[in-house]
């Protein structure tokens, strides 16, 4: 029996991921005790998320590039940034959940555990440069989210959401996997950077020329799969139904986390692996996806009367804006995308948080996501209405809120590409801004309803628990902070592009 060399493990590197996993296990153990009914799972979850955030910050301080397990775990700044967003959104989502779980029939402890594990999967996906690990991370959080979306299992809507999400998710997994297989086939490696090197050689005419087409197949299928996760048209179909049916805090977390890490992987794919090969192809594809997403998302959101569906379509539209930035492929685009995402996170979590509060539970499931339920909210709950207005205005892109600054960055990047001669980006920026005008109509409808429509009958005061209120307030104030002092975060995102590039450079020599 020959000796197997056990790999050395840098425990600090896996710290955030490990913390989440261990916390989830502890929460699951608590679920087996009578304490499951108490606040213990909630507190443990918060503590775990806090600890994970702490170890993430420690990693941030430690170094710019750090990797373990042969680049399978790459805790570069980009990963840490997106990981931070994931953890933060998980934190807010947990804060939103406690009150929500009190009135819906769902097992709380398991809920928290799955949420933690989903966050863990997202972290894994965000912090990897390896196709296999990306896939594993993707599956971990996807499976957890399939369950979470159906966790109120006595409600048909919830289960229907789970079913749709599951079937379509598994379907898209098939494509993404096939894409990975082809990329592996063409390059002989699962490591994105090694793939990158190989891809360059291939397209430079070295090696087997037949593999170039296989590489293209892989790229196409992977983009399709990731487009599903980021909810870009025409892969967005699951979004409205799943967002509507899932428990609202889950929806919020799902909308942010899934999209975030998928976008990061997309960035890694197009900026590092295909950063200088097949550029024309993926740029065009992403641009078209962006165009479609903005168009369909905004227009359909316009005619929605259910707030969750409206937010769902709006999230499709926002995927479009984000894709514009990714498609730009420049450092401006990358940093704009990452910055916009921070703003998107706060608004999404906040808006869904308010939605979860305003809704009410009946036997058949959550009711009251109709717009009419917001009538008179400004008088029954002025604070809540104000916060919701802030979220809506930020989504509209009204300065000085974060949403505006983000849009500004994105369209700056796009227009720059446009002026450099890429006509599609001119179209993208014009259409994008024009459609964000359209978006004002439906975001404003919420504000109009809250402030200017009289409720039919008595509008009961919505009870807001302190933790929920805290989460919403944090989101709202965060939007002001990001809008007025975006420099700190933006500088961070600026450095991330260099990180992504530098990683490739480091590897390629």
């Amino acid at each position: 029996m020959n000796e197997i060399l056990t790999p050395a493990i840098d425990w600090a590197m896996v710290g955030p991921i490990l913390t989440l996993t261990v916390t989830a296990c502890v929460v699951l153990l608590v679920a087996a005790t009578p304490a499951r009914r108490g606040p213990l799972p909630f507190i443990l979850t918060l503590a775990g998320l806090g600890a994970a955030t702490g170890s993430l910050l420690a990693l941030w301080e430690r170094s710019v590039h750090q990797s373990a397990f042969g680049n399978m775990l790459v805790m570069d700044r980009a990963a840490l940034y997106m990981g931070g967003i994931v953890l933060f959104s998980a934190l807010l989502s947990v804060l939103l959940s406690r009150q929500y779980l009190e009135r819906v029939p769902a097992p709380a402890a398991e809920y928290y555990a799955l949420l933690l594990l989903a966050a863990m999967g997202m972290l894994v996906m965000a912090s990897s440069n390896n196709l296999l690990v990306i896939f594993m991370g993707l599956e971990i959080f996807s499976v957890a989210l399939y369950v979470l979306s159906g966790i109120t299992r006595d409600w048909l809507r919830s289960l229907e959401a789970a079913l749709k999400y599951f079937l379509l998710g598994a379907f898209s997994t098939g494509f993404i996997l096939y894409g990975m297989a082809f990329i592996y086939g063409a390059t002989g490696s699962l490591d994105l950077l090694a793939c990158c090197r190989q891809a360059r050689d291939l397209l430079a005419g070295q090696g087997d020329s037949g593999m170039a087409l296989v590489l293209l197949l892989g790229l196409a299928l992977m983009i399709a799969g990731l487009a599903f996760k980021v909810a870009a048209v025409p892969f967005h179909w699951w979004v409205p139904d799943v967002y509507e049916g899932s428990p609202t805090p889950v929806t919020a977390f799902m909308a942010v986390g899934t999209k975030g890490v998928a976008f990061l992987v997309l960035l890694r794919l197009v900026t590092t692996t295909f950063g200088d090969v097949l550029v024309a192809q993926w740029t065009m594809v992403l641009a078209v996806l962006a165009l479609l997403s903005m168009f369909v998302g905004n227009l359909v959101a316009l005619v929605q009367r259910n707030i969750k569906r409206m937010l769902a379509f709006s999230s499709v539209a926002h995927a479009g804006y984000l894709l514009v930035a990714v498609a730009a492929g420049t450092d401006l685009g990358t940093s704009a995308m990452l910055f916009y995402f921070a703003a998107y996170m706060l608004t999404t979590l906040g808006a869904f948080g308010v939605a979860s509060l305003v809704a009410e539970t009946t036997e058949k499931g959550d009711q009251g996501y109709g717009m009419e339920r917001y009538a008179g909210l400004s008088r029954s709950n002025p604070g809540l209405a104000l916060a919701m207005s802030v979220f809506m205005l930020s989504l509209t892109g009204v300065p000085p809120l974060a949403g505006f600054v983000g849009k500004y960055f994105i369209f700056q990047a796009a227009l720059q590409r446009g002026l450099e001669g890429s006509r599609i980006f001119l179209v993208l920026s014009v259409v994008g801004i024009l459609l964000s005008v359209v978006s004002a109509a439906y975001y404003l409808r919420v504000i109009v309803t809250m402030y200017m429509v009289n409720p039919e009958g008595e509008r009961p005061r919505v009870v807001t628990a302190p933790d929920t209120g805290f989460a919403i307030a944090v989101a709202a104030l965060g939007l002001f902070y990001l809008g007025l002092y975006p420099t700190a975060v933006y500088d961070m995102t600026r450095s991330l592009h260099t990180t992504l590039q530098a990683l490739a450079a480091l590897w390629l020599g």
């Binding site: 594993m136 297989a181 086939g185």
Partner: protein, 99 residues
Amino acid sequence: MPLVSYISLSAVLFVIGVMGVLLKRNVLTIFMSIELMLNAVNVALAAFARHHGGLDGQIFVFFVMAVAAAEAAVGLAIFIAIFRLKQTTDVTEINLMRW
């Protein structure tokens, strides 16, 4: 068999799987078709691994199986739960949420 035969076979299986997803009505059959797709991917991965002479592809297959197992567990649980409420496995009858 040469590589191209294996990959062609994988493509055929994959397309059949896709067709199954698109054409069938029963959630269980749809899910089986998805398994068919994963299986096709596995063939491609193993063949590519053999082509390159590395084991990465085979390892990947191993993980795909693990994933398939996980998905099956959760998916079937969802089917059971939904069947309990609605007594159907016909996806065309599951469209409460639309528009």
